[in-house]
Structures are given as C-alpha cells and as structure tokens.
C-alpha cells in the first residue's frame, strides 16, 4: 500500500500548479481516505481491539521507514506511504497479542528495502507483511474478516469515496477490473463447489476487500506500467485467488497478490531492460 507521492508524481497524476493550489494534493488522498475509514468504523462500531495496537503499527511503520530511508539513501523519505502501510497493518491484523502489530509493520517496511530488483521493490509492502505473518503465525494472528456493522450506508460510502479517489489518481480501471473478475469468477466457484453464489460473493462485501481493492492492488510502485498490463495482472490476481479459494485458502486475495504481483513486476523489469538494450543498440 505504498501509494506515495513519488509514485503518483511519476505517473503524472499530480494536478497542475493552479489546480493544486485550490485542491488537495493527490498524495494525501489515500491516507485521508484510509484514516476516514478507520475513524468512521472505530467511532461507529469499535472495530479495533484498541487504539494502542493500531498506533503501534503506524508508529513502527513510519519509524522504520524514516530510519531505513535515511540510512540507505541519506535523505528523509516522505512518510505517507509508511503511514498507509502502518494503518493498514493496524486494521487488517487481528490478534490478542501486541507483537503482531509491531512485527507486521516492521516486516512490511523492511521488505521494501530488501526485496528489490533494479531499484524497484517487488511486493506491495503490506501485502508482503500481512501474508508473511498470517502464514508464519496462524495460532496468533488472523486478518480482519468481519463486517463493520450491518448498515448498507457505510459500505456504500466507502465504495463511492474509494472509487472517486482511485479514479482521481488514475487507477480506477485496476479496482474495477478486479471487482468484475471477482464477481465473474465467483459464479465459477459457486458452480464448481455447489456453494450458494451469495456465499461465494460474500467476502467482497466486507471491509477487508475494501482495503485490498482500494489500497493494495492499486499500489503504483508494485504494478506494471501499461493500463492493459495492469488490467491483465489484476485479473490474474483474481484468477489465482479463485484457485486458492477452491483449495479453501482463507486469505486467498493476499496470497494471490503475493504470488502474481512480483512475477508481473519481474516481467515488467525484463521487458524494460530489453527495451533499453534495443534503444542502446
């Protein structure tokens, strides 16, 4: 979930100066959205085990980012990306223990500095962190898997706000492709397993998917460059997720992105290298 300013700037999504003067810088939109979601959900339904856990995740992520960025590159990195990673870990991780919140954030940020090829990190940091901890510590950690309340209105608001924001940062096609793929493939799963279709589609109505769709699969740093390529990759994520779900893997979306994301990035990097060599020759 590193929807950071550099990435947005690199994709040309920051508004021209006159407009920027009047409107909010795009780099702050995702953090604002996720903060609004958290505050709204917590104040309405009390979704968190405690503020201290989410706070620990955020502080750890930002602290790790600042320290690692400064030591590695000699400059202070912008904390927006780390903030999103931390708050996402704080919301997604569910555990009666305190340590998962610290370690998930730490692993997420560290992965960004370690798992790199040609200067690009391969995994979405939070995807890596959450996937790693739920895989390694199933007895102590799970991922958010409940509804926040019962009302339709909050869910609609989050979907609308999230859609507006991913549209504004030019990544709505990714979210839309994923949602369409999930719905389509849920029919396939339902037909193959005999599960009622509404049960097959139920997960996407939950907040875990809202975070996944708006913040994780859209991460500019870990998606390929072309729009068509982005749509293909996100369809593949949904497809691998379907395969995992047929194997009854509960955290299928995270593992699917964990598998497909870096492969797509490597393909992108290889293609870039060939293109560069071609230009050079």
């Amino acid at each position: 979930m590193a929807t950071d300013a550099q990435a947005l700037a690199s994709t040309g999504q920051i508004a021209p100066r006159p407009r920027r003067f009047l409107t909010l810088d795009n780099r702050y939109l995702p953090p604002l959205l996720i903060t609004s979601i958290l505050l709204g959900a917590q104040l309405s339904f009390g979704i968190l085990e405690g503020w201290e856990r989410t706070g620990l995740a955020i502080v750890t992520a930002i602290g790790a980012e600042l320290v690692m960025g400064r030591i590695t590159y000699g400059a202070w990195p912008h904390p927006a990306s780390a903030y999103i990673s931390g708050i996402s870990a704080g919301i997604l991780v569910r555990s009666p223990f305190l340590w998962p919140y610290f370690l998930t954030s730490l692993i997420s940020i560290t992965s960004k500095y370690v798992l790199r090829v040609n200067g690009r990190h391969l995994w979405n940091p939070t995807n890596f962190g959450v996937s790693a901890v739920v895989f390694l510590a199933p007895a102590a950690i799970t991922v958010l898997s409940i509804q926040w309340g019962n009302a339709i209105a909050p869910m609609v608001i989050i979907w609308v706000l999230g859609s507006v924001i991913v549209w504004r940062v030019g990544r709505a096609h990714i979210s839309a492709t994923y949602v369409a793929s999930f719905l389509l493939l849920s029919f396939v799963r339902s037909a193959m397993t005999g599960t009622p279709w509404l049960a097959a589609v139920a997960p996407i109505t939950g907040p875990m998917y809202q975070l996944f769709i708006f913040f994780m699969v859209t991460d500019p740093k870990t998606t390929v460059r072309s729009r068509v390529g982005q749509c293909i990759v996100v369809f593949l994520v949904a497809f691998v997720e379907m395969l995992l779900r047929l194997r009854e893997v509960l955290y299928a979306p995270f593992y699917a992105l964990f598998i497909v994301g870096p492969i797509a990035m490597l393909v992108q990097i290889v293609m870039d290298q060939r293109k560069t060599r071609g230009l050079g020759s």
């Binding site: 339904f45 009390g46 968190l48 085990e49 405690g50 690692m68 030591i71 590695t72 590159y73 000699g74 569910r94 555990s95 009666p96 223990f97 340590w99 998962p100 370690l103 730490l106 692993i107 560290t110 992965s111 500095y113 370690v114 790693a132 901890v133 739920v134 390694l136 510590a137 199933p138 007895a139 102590a140 950690i141 799970t142 898997s145 409940i146 509804q147 926040w148 309340g149 019962n150 339709i152 869910m155 005999g194 599960t195 009622p196 509404l198 049960a199 097959a200 589609v201 139920a202 997960p203 109505t205 939950g206 875990m208 009854e248 893997v249 509960l250």
Partner: protein
C-alpha cells in the same frame, strides 16, 4: 565522480545486508512467537499429583452415570447447517435437591422426546437417576420446546431448591415438593410463553429477600425453530448483531408469581446471549449482571440500588470489542478481593483468533476513586498476559481451586462440531461470516456442512493459577484428555472430601465426571450459607477469607459458566496453611458476619444472623 558515488553504493549495500538480516530475524521471531502462543502441549503423565497437586480421572460410568446427549432436529430448511444451529443444550446443574448433604446432578437432554436426568447422589460413590420418578424427565417435546439448561433456586424460601428449566420453547418452573416430587407451577407463575434461551439465573436484584429471575433469549422469541416462517433467522452480523432474543427480568412478587420488569428496569437488549452471571461487581451491595453475547459485545448491567440497571459495558471496557461470548464466570484471580470476569470466545488458528477475555477491575485505589464519581469500575483484559486467552472454540469455563493451593484455577471445555476428522467447515464458515447482513442473516445462503467438522476434537484446558499473574496449562498432564464437544462445566465436591470434581456436559456426547484427587497435605474449607432475612439460598452473599496475608473473595451464585450451576457451598483451598484468620460474610441483606479462625478441612454450615 566515481569516487563520490562509491561510498553511497557501499553504504547502500551495507544497509541492504543489515535490512536483510533484520527481515530474516523478524520472520524467525514471528514463527517463534507463534509456537509460544500455541503453548506447552506436553503429554507427560508422570507425577502430575506431585507436580501440580492433583489428578483428574474420568469416572462417570463407574459412578452409574451413563447417558449420551441428544441434540434437537429443527425445520428441514436448516438441514444443511443443522449441526451448528442445533449445537447447544447439553447442560448440567449441581443441586442438593433432597437436602441430604450430597450434591446431585440435573442434566438436560435436547432431542425431541428425549429425557432429562436427575442423578441423586447416594453418598456411597454412586448415583441413581430419579428424574422420571420425580417428574422432571419427560420435558422435551416439540410443542413446548427442548431443554437448553436449568438453574436452581429456592424462589419461595421454603428450604427446597426449585427448578427453572429454560428451553428453546416455554420456560418451566418446577416447585420442589420437599425432595419427593416436582410440580410444574404452570402459566400462572407469569413466566413468558416462549423464549429461545440458552441462559438464565436466579438473583435478588432488589434485595427484598426473594429470588428474582433473569432469562436471556438467544434466537428471537418469534422464531419457532421447528416451523420456520422464514429462513432469515440468522444473526445479521458476525460481531454486530442486534436481532437476537429479548431478555426477561422477572420480579418475584412473593406469592409464587413473577412480574416482567425488564423494560422498567432499563434492559432492552436484543443481543444473542449465551451466558449470564450475577455478582456485585461494583461494591454497592446489589448484584450486577454480566451478559456474554454471541455475535457482539458483552453487556454489564450495573444495578442502581435495585431500582434500575444501566449498561456500563462500553465505559468499563468489557463491552468495547465485539466477539463471540459464550461463558460468564467470576473469580478472584489475584487473591486481593477483586472479582474478575472470565468470558470465553473463539480461537481457531489461521482463521479467527478472538482470544478469551479475563476482565480484571483496575486496582482498588483506582476503582474506589472512580466509584466516588461514576460508580463504574474500569476493567482491563489480562487474558493474554496471564495466559488464559487461547482455548479453541471455547464454551463453558469455571473458576475453582482445583489443587487446593489457595488460588482460583480455570477449567475450560471447548469444541463446536466434531464430525469428519479430516474435513473442516471453517473456510465456508469464515466466508459467510464476513458477508453483509443481507447475506448472512438468511440460512439459505449458508454453505452446507456436509459432515464436516467445525473446531472439532479440541484439546481441553486446565489452567493453574500461580497467584502471581500467570496461569499454566496442564490439562493433558492431570488427566483432562477428552475431545468431546464440551458445553457446560460445573464444579462440585461430589464425595464431600474437600476436592472439587469437574462435571462436563458434552453435546451429542456423554456426561463426563472427572474425579479429583488432591494432595492430602493441602487444606481447604467450605461455607454452606443459609439466608434468613436474605433469600434462603443466600445467592449474592459474599465471603472474604483471610489467611496468611491472602484475601480471597467468592460469591454465592446460581448460574455461572455456560448453561451450568456449581455446587452451592463455596470451596476455598488454603494450601499448606495451618489455620485461617477469619471469614467475613456479607449477606445480601447487608448483614456482615465475621467468623474467627474457622476450622480447616470441613464444611461450615452458616445461618444468617437474625439481627444486624
């Protein structure tokens, strides 16, 4: 140029190596902490009595108790999920119904046409079922409902404990005719016509000397599970459901009838209640009510001098995080006079780790400081730090000093549906649980179970309290090795020899009786209280035992745990202490009685003094 870049590259390489090592170390730490969370699974059987001071031996058959619980069969439209919707009803209550001094057992059955059992303790180490002869066996019929549990209390203060049977159906009050027969009181008692209840308790909320009744609905009252009008009967949310059954607070008029004071007293909850315990949690002298709810937050109804209840759960902390509450018990885990609340929830590795809650009130000075302002104690969940959080799909649990060392231990049973040993329903359950209310509330949308297990065949937990803030899990070592789908747990000294035996009712399984053999070098004493100005059962009476610098508090309660009732006498272990200093009894009437140096290793029958 090269000379200027090189140090940067070198620095980045060194940093990369450092971050790589840190990443590997972090992943290793996560794995190690996971193993630690799983805990010690040692099956070492050697010398458990020497190491922990007691052993448990399952002895039901030898005692003459042979029964297998039968579950109900509801409307055919629920067939695909029947094992999970018909997953309760195995309950046990300890009562000396014939006042012969030996604790007897009332065990519910839930199949249509099945029989409940009243096992009379013959005092010679065996039991005999007298339910049919006394009129409390044939009570499970489709028209009136099937049993979910019972709670006993002397509502008319005639000296004999009466039976309140709660069902998915019509609650029934049976008057105890001096231990010779039970007579249904009938509709004129004023009980509700139909409650789909999994919990109820007797308590004297206004301290008028008569036991009142609290019955908590689980499914809504209008749902007849045998003849569904709609399949939209399921909870509207896995953790925020408010479409469960209503609660009934029934005030005892003293003439054998009850009046519904629920709304007038401020209780309007429609949550899915599974357990209730009444105890004075705010030091006011009036019993408060803690309610453990499935699919949502707990409720803590603070008693306002018998005139009103206020739900203080959010402010106190116990009602903030929604979970799947299934048990409510209170115990003094630090021997400092504070009653902690133990609420069980669901923990399934890799799917849902809610963790059980051990709500401990803040230290006395803070609590008292707050009482002067708001009368609300603040609670802190110490289950994780004290090691009693992960208990599987937890059901009934009780506090009790199992090894007579002077501290309150915890016995917990668990397991939801044990069916196919190699197949699990958890994936489908988790998928539907996250669905929006429009999806989850309709049973039609729930995937079929197809003979799969859901948290089945689970290992039980026996947590020994070290008195210093830590519990040690010893179930396998001391002998609690069953893997049935446990529901109710009750503790009683079945042989009157100073050791708490453990009785476990299992769903679609046998009644288990774990006989407890405690190191004879450990001392104990029990208090069997009889009220005069207070209700005769002395429910709500508080005993503070002082010895060797310890102060342990226990209260007489009716229902405690999940669908269970412990023995009436309060049991205190005191370890190697040669004597105790005193017992201070605060009766529900307000009378305070002090007994100096009560003798060890015996049961004390104490009658409430006539005057102040």
């Amino acid at each position: 140029m090269t000379l200027r870049v090189a140090p940067t590259v070198r620095r980045q390489r060194i940093a990369w190596i450092a971050w790589t090592l840190m990443l590997i170390a972090s992943l290793a730490v996560v794995r190690a902490l996971n193993q630690r969370a799983i805990g010690d699974r040692s099956d070492d059987e050697g010398g458990a009595d020497a190491r922990f001071g007691f052993t448990l031996t399952e002895s039901a058959k030898r005692l003459g108790i042979e029964l297998v619980h039968r579950g109900p069969t509801f409307d055919a439209r629920l067939n695909h999920i029947m094992p999970q919707v018909a997953a309760m009803g195995a309950a046990v209550a300890v009562v000396d119904f014939d006042r012969d001094g030996w604790p007897d057992l009332y065990v519910t059955n839930s199949g249509e046409g099945s029989l409940n059992h009243l096992y009379r303790n013959k005092g010679d180490g065996t039991f005999v079922d007298v339910a049919a002869a006394l009129g409390v066996a044939d009570v499970n019929q489709q028209g009136s409902g099937v049993s979910m549990g019972s709670v006993w209390g002397d509502y008319d203060n005639d000296g004999w404990d009466d039976l309140l049977l709660y069902r998915y159906g019509r609650p029934e009050l049976f008057h105890n005719d001096q231990g010779r027969h039970f007579t249904p009181v009938g509709e004129h008692a004023g009980l509700p016509a139909w409650v789909n209840a999994n919990s109820a308790t007797w308590f004297d909320y206004d301290r008028d000397g008569r036991l009142d009744l609290f019955i908590a609905g689980y499914w809504p009252d209008h749902v007849n599970l045998w003849k569904l009008e709609t399949t939209k009967i399921m909870p509207e949310s896995f953790e925020y459901a408010n479409n469960g059954g209503r609660k009934y607070l029934l005030h005892n008029r003293g003439d054998g009838t009850f009046e519904d004071t629920t709304e007038a007293m401020g209780i309007t909850s429609h949550r899915w209640t599974l357990a209730v315990v009444a105890a004075d949690l705010h030091g006011t002298g009036y019993p408060d009510v803690f309610v453990a709810n499935d699919y949502g937050v707990s409720e803590l109804f603070a008693n306002q001098a018998g005139k009103r209840f206020i739900d203080v759960a959010p402010q106190s902390g116990v009602g903030r995080a929604p979970k799947s509450g299934m048990n409510a018990a209170v115990g003094d885990v630090f021997n400092d006079g504070r009653l902690a609340i133990y609420k069980t929830n669901i923990s399934e590795p890799g799917v849902l780790v809610q963790g059980n809650d051990l709500w401990v009130p803040q230290d006395r000075s803070k609590v008292e400081g707050q009482r002067s302002k708001a009368e609300i104690a603040e609670y802190e969940n110490l289950a994780t730090s004290m090691g009693v959080d992960l208990g599987g799909w937890s059901w009934g649990a009780q506090f009790g000093d199992l090894n007579n060392d002077g501290t309150q231990d915890i016995y917990l049973t668990n397991g939801y549906v044990s069916a196919g040993e190699r197949s699990s329903y958890w994936y489908d359950f988790a998928v539907i649980a996250v669905g929006h209310s429009q999806i989850i509330e309709d049973a039609v949308n729930w995937p079929a179970m197809k003979g799969r297990s859901l948290s089945g065949y689970q290992r039980k937990r026996v947590w020994l309290n070290d008195g210093l803030g830590r519990f040690t899990e010893v179930a396998q070592v001391v002998g609690a090795r069953d893997t049935y789908d446990g529901r109710a747990v009750a503790l009683a000294d079945l042989r009157n020899r100073g050791a708490l035996d453990v009785i476990v009712a299992t769903q679609r399984g046998p009644l288990l009786v774990y006989q407890n053999s405690v190191d004879p070098g450990r001392h104990w004493l029990q208090f069997d209280l009889e009220g005069r100005r207070s209700n005769r059962d002395a429910i709500g009476a508080r005993v503070e035992l002082h010895w060797s610098g310890h102060v342990q508090v226990q209260e007489v309660a009716a229902a405690t745990g999940f669908s269970a009732q412990n023995q009436h006498p309060l049991h205190f272990g005191v370890g190697a202490a040669a004597a105790v200093d005193r017992a201070v009894i605060r009766w529900p009437s307000g009378t305070v009685q002090t007994i100096e140096h009560p003798a060890l290793d015996m049961r004390h029958h104490i009658k409430e003094p006539d005057g102040d």
